[in-house]
């Protein structure tokens, strides 16, 4: 049964997804749109599994003091810190967000609380007023988090940010706040630059690898090398410049021909080949010939 039930599920789901593509029955078509959503939910569990595995592997490395265990410590700390910040700070606080204060009584209340907090005589009084504001107006001001609320109220009191807006919100009272989100900060200023750096150094590796490995050893290799050289030189400004000086050497045209004719033909063949491959693999899975996804050989 441990084999048969998953096979039946795979077969029936696969057939249903094929059938919904051809049927005009709306209910079945809707099912075809709902089922992919389940994929996202299953994907969530897969992330949880991957996380558990990652923690176990690196936890073991640390406990055994394997070579390079320090990197595992950094990895787990970074992982925990990023997840913690991601859970603590809501995604919608990523960007500057306008808060509508259309109700005059709410507007008056916000201004009054901002004034009182700005004039607080002690830290204790300020905290009490912030708590009061959070319970009264937290939702209105876009956050119940003390730090965000305090910043918003101070900006309100100092700059009078509540104003009648022009443009898309014409006539409405809008209060714009810019949030600092540490999770977003990590994403923007740590993850993104690191990723850009990783890709940037590829140019150096490509140059070094091309020097060491790109040899015209066979006829096919020589053809590939010649095509690569024509495309590399023809696609950049230097190719066009060369053609403007040496009229009988149309490097841009040659590279365009290579891309448009042999390349397009080969790419099309690859696309058709992979489509046929996908169909054949899918049929094997649906018919139960392919069972590696169940852990069988």
């Amino acid at each position: 049964m441990r084999r048969e039930i998953p096979l039946v599920i795979a077969l029936s789901t696969g057939l249903l997804m094929i059938f919904q593509f051809f049927t005009p029955v709306e209910e079945v078509q809707n099912l075809g749109e709902t089922l992919p959503n389940w994929n996202a939910i299953i994907g969530g569990f897969a992330i949880f599994l991957a996380l558990t595995s990652l923690i176990k592997v690196h936890g073991d490395r640390i406990s055994r003091r394997d070579q390079g265990w320090g990197y595992s410590v950094v990895l787990l700390l970074t992982l925990g810190g990023t997840i913690g910040l991601g859970l603590a700070f809501r995604a919608e606080e990523y960007y500057q967000r306008p808060v509508f204060l259309d109700d005059p009584s709410v507007r008056a209340q916000v201004s009054e609380m901002a004034r009182r907090i700005a004039n607080a005589r002690s830290r204790k009084e300020e905290v009490l007023l912030l708590d009061e504001t959070a319970s009264k107006l937290g939702g209105v001001l876009g956050s119940t988090r003390t730090e965000t609320l305090r910043r918003n109220l101070k900006r309100l009191a100092q700059t009078g940010l509540v104003k009648r807006e022009e443009g898309p919100y014409a006539g409405r009272y809008v209060c714009s706040f810019e949030y600092f989100n540490p999770f977003h900060w990590i994403y923007q200023y740590v993850y993104s630059p690191l990723q850009a750096t990783m890709v940037s150094i590829l140019a150096f590796f490509v140059a070094s690898a091309a020097y060491r490995a790109f040899r015209a050893r066979t006829v096919e290799g020589s053809l590939l090398l010649a095509a690569a050289l024509f495309v590399m030189i023809g696609r950049v400004s230097f190719g066009y410049w060369t053609h403007s000086k040496i009229a009988w050497l149309p490097l841009p045209e040659i590279q365009q021909w290579i891309l448009d004719v042999p390349n397009t033909a080969a790419q099309r063949a690859i696309m058709m080949g992979s489509a046929l491959g996908i169909i054949s693999s899918s049929l094997r899975i649906l018919l139960g010939y392919e069972q590696t996804y169940l852990g069988n050989d």
């Binding site: 022009e166 443009g167 020097y211 050289l229 690859i270």
Partner: protein
């Protein structure tokens, strides 16, 4: 050590240094090399130029920081063209870093065009998770954009935004431009956007990905494709506004030349060894 072995085993740090010099000198002192216009860039430019003011254009930000250097310049050039023509831009993203790229671009545009109004002239819709990545993402965006994005990146209800009032179906989009660095990206937009929902589709992609997408242009499923920095430089030339693409092309030209010299040198040594030394 024989001179051939020296050439063959040249320290890789020397290669790195030469590539670094080749990339940085033209950036500091541009060479102003000429740029030719490809038919693809010309078609995309002409199509946008023919649209009436107020038409809706979708620019999908399907790239990240790793491909920013190649794709962002063309995004800037096309956005500049759209804004100068009075076209309205909807900016979804199929990649998680796409919204950051869109926000960066529109912040810059906002400074260049102070009259630009968020919600009226453009909207950044953020990352769309979708049921699964790729085709289902695009299908959901094309079938009902407002349901896919009930709120934009600023927390506004998208259905209330002035820019959305003229969007009744995907056919109201006069051009969809997928700025893509891989999957999900242009292929999904072709299968769902162009084939299923019949939108006019153009693409902007990294140079390495462009050859694999050319069959879609050849078959007429796409209007055209801007490939890598060259695509950006071509569009900037059409706009008569040199930018990041134009300055980057000089650097790319010189780096390509250096790599070609390396390849030719290595192959000359290989040929000398194989055909001449063996005879001695």
């Amino acid at each position: 050590m024989h001179w051939i072995d020296r050439v063959k085993n040249v320290d890789r740090r020397i290669i790195y240094l030469l590539v670094l010099i080749a990339a940085s000198v033209p950036l500091l002192k541009p060479l102003d090399l000429p740029i030719d216009i490809s038919p693809d860039a010309q078609r995309i430019y002409d199509h946008l130029d023919s649209l009436s003011s107020g038409s809706l254009v979708m620019m999908s930000f399907d790239y990240d920081a790793g491909s920013r250097a190649e794709v962002h310049p063309m995004a800037e050039a096309v956005a500049e063209h759209c804004i100068s023509r009075g076209l309205k831009i909807l900016a979804p993203a199929l990649w998680t870093q796409g919204p950051s790229m869109a926000n960066e671009l529109f912040s810059k545009m906002q400074k260049v065009h102070p009259d630009l109004v968020y919600g009226r002239d453009y909207v950044t819709l953020g990352y769309f998770v979708g049921p699964t990545q790729g085709d289902p993402q695009v299908k959901a965006l094309m079938s009902d954009l407002v349901s896919a994005y009930p709120r934009d990146t600023r927390g506004n209800q998208t259905k209330d935004l002035p820019i959305m009032q003229n969007l009744h179906s995907s056919l109201d989009l006069k051009l969809v431009l997928s700025l893509s660095a891989g999957d999900p990206g242009i292929s999904a937009w072709v299968r769902q956007g162009a084939d299923e929902y019949h939108v006019t589709l153009a693409g902007g992609s990294t140079a390495i990905q462009t050859p694999s997408l050319l069959p879609f242009v050849d078959s007429g499923q796409m209007l055209g494709i801007l490939g890598g920095l060259k695509g950006a430089a071509e569009y900037e030339k059409l706009m008569k506004k040199p930018g990041l693409g134009t300055s980057g092309m000089d650097a790319q030209s010189v780096v390509h030349l250096v790599i070609i010299v390396f390849i030719l040198l290595a192959n000359s040594v290989y040929a000398y060894e194989k055909f001449i030394l063996k005879r001695i």
